[in-house]
Symmetry: C2
């Protein structure tokens, strides 16, 4: 059973874990650390964890679960820093959005340690110490990607931890995780960043026009493209192969659409546009989105 | 002053116009017609307009404003049908998402009539007689694209009409409209339809995985890709040139992203991802979206 959790990185994910533990598993003691002094100060004010330490060694010393909630590019250096200070029986896990790279980095930096990477598929476009909230994981999935031969008790303890925060745990190998998330998360973000960039570079259409008329669809892309640049840079650098593979398929499909438009092939377009409605229905049925039209935005 | 409005097509847009008139301009008399009998029945039940007619001629006979709220591919045939039955002083307008094609089609089908195309930039992913609601146009823009030499009184009357429904009117030429909307609406929809299609065609990743883990970004694309297939087929066929032009630019920018990922160029990625946040801020400041994280979805 997990009794003391150390949260490293007190942004959206780390802060939400801390607040969720307080709300849903209040007997668990939480400590935390963030590289940024201002973030530590704000985390203390908001009470994101029980104790915010100025020294990473202090933060992890007594923990039986250490959760790395930093960008995936920072996992290795953070792991190296905590290694000398960990309890012998500590489980090291994380919330990073790519899993093969994290598994490799933690295995290298933490030889002999119990490492069980994980990824709660939950987030918003906001980041930093003010972004976290206790309900982030309610009704969401947490994908756990244990290395071969991972200790079953450690895996069981981690599963119970995430379940208590409201998530449903799924076990997957890291490679498959990276492929699935490339298509359900990484490519959508890349596309959104790109189209928002394309729109803001146009000469014939002013920036103010793009913003004014964004309610036609563009505004949804601006939301996704407002996500944290450091986090996303790291995701693309660390899940490169799966992202490039999926991007290749997307581009092929887009070319087929382009061809249908150019040749005036309405039937092909209508067929393609009809297939996608069923997926939306299932997303809503499975509780992964609101059914309210337009996300129930105010009008 | 507009006193009697005929709404042709009683789906999301037509139904919303009818309900908005009743809420915001209740002294205006509304009539309506839809090609589909079930839609007419439901429109009568919901009271989308004052009188739903089974005969399009009856619906338009007394109207001083006729608003075509049908897919842009149906504009020409509907216009030809109403022409013999219009009052001499009637203004014919529409809500179609492309404007050059509508202007051309209405001019051909309605020789000598007062034609002032328009496009309220407001919508949701839902369609049909149940989708409309009175507040759809509140705080949104309505782009009016009058042909050269349009009667100023007619233009003024149409402007006041849309203002009363809560929209702000902007005048633009049809060509510029089509370019602006290609980037803020048509390309985002095309991309969303494509990625949802790509995801559902994968062999290595099951459909159920795609749905389960959609909260990582994909679900927003499924919403947009749930929009009406007929409406969108028509948009792409009728705004072909602007869509292909913008698609070309998007593809170039996506290729640059791809290259940066392939070569591990984190700086380029970080720069691109940083530029796009400012646009999000402006979209929110200008009231075109909610500031609530994750659209304030329930967790
Ligand atoms: N956002 C999402 O939607 C989402 C969803 C699922 C998983 N994730 C994953 O969750 C992790 C954290 O993302 P987030 O959204 O919580 O980002 P965030 O809000 O920016 O939080 C990350 C925090 O980690 C701190 N940090 C960075 N490097 C550090 C280091 N070397 N040592 C200690 N602290 C460090 C950052 O401090 P500074 O302010 O100094 O940078 C920041 O406070 C990432 O791996 C991401 O892939 C994110
Ligand atoms: N949806 C948006 O977000 C949005 C936003 C701005 C503008 N627009 C534009 O608004 C217009 C209507 O779109 P919508 O979203 O309201 O679609 P919708 O909900 O599908 O409504 C269109 C209605 O027009 C009817 N119709 C089709 N052909 C007709 C004909 N020849 N004669 C009479 N009625 C006919 C349809 O009947 P059936 O049921 O028989 O097809 C349907 O009831 C389109 O031009 C679209 O480009 C849409």
């Amino acid at each position: 059973m997990i009794e003391r959790v150390a949260v490293i990185g007190l942004g959206l994910l780390g802060g939400s874990v801390g607040l969720a533990v307080r709300a849903d598993a209040p007997e668990i003691v939480t400590t935390g650390y963030d590289a940024d002094e201002a973030t530590r100060a704000r985390a203390t004010e908001r009470g994101l964890v029980g104790t915010v330490h100025n020294d990473i060694a202090e933060a992890v010393r007594d923990a039986d679960l250490v959760l790395l909630c930093v960008p995936v590019g920072a996992m290795k250096s953070v792991a190296a820093k905590i290694d000398p200070h960990l309890r012998g029986d500590a489980i090291v896990s994380d919330v990073g959005s790519s899993k093969q790279s994290v598994l490799r980095d933690l295995t290298e930096a933490l030889p002999g340690r119990t490492i069980i990477p994980a990824h709660p598929v939950a987030g918003t476009e906001q980041s930093g110490a003010d972004a976290g909230f206790a309900e982030l994981f309610h009704g969401r999935w947490c994908i756990v990607t244990p290395p071969e031969g991972a200790a079953p008790e450690a895996l069981a303890a981690l599963r119970i931890f995430w379940q208590r925060l409201g998530a449903t745990v799924e076990i997957m190998d890291a490679e498959h995780h990276d492929l699935v998330l490339a298509v359900t998360s990484h490519i959508p973000h890349l596309i959104a960043y790109t189209i928002v960039g394309t729109a803001s570079d146009m000469e014939e259409v002013t920036r103010s026009e793009v913003i004014k008329y964004s309610a036609g669809g563009f505004r949804d892309f601006t939301r996704i493209a407002a996500s944290d640049p450091t986090m996303w840079r790291d995701v693309f650098l660390h899940n490169r192969d799966a992202v490039l593979e999926m991007l290749g398929r997307f581009t092929e499909d887009l070319t087929a659409m382009q061809r249908a438009i150019r040749s005036g092939d309405g039937e092909t377009l209508h067929n393609m546009f009809s297939r996608t409605r069923a997926i939306r229905r299932q997303v809503i049925e499975q509780g992964q989105d609101d059914a309210a039209p337009d996300f129930g935005r105010k009008h």
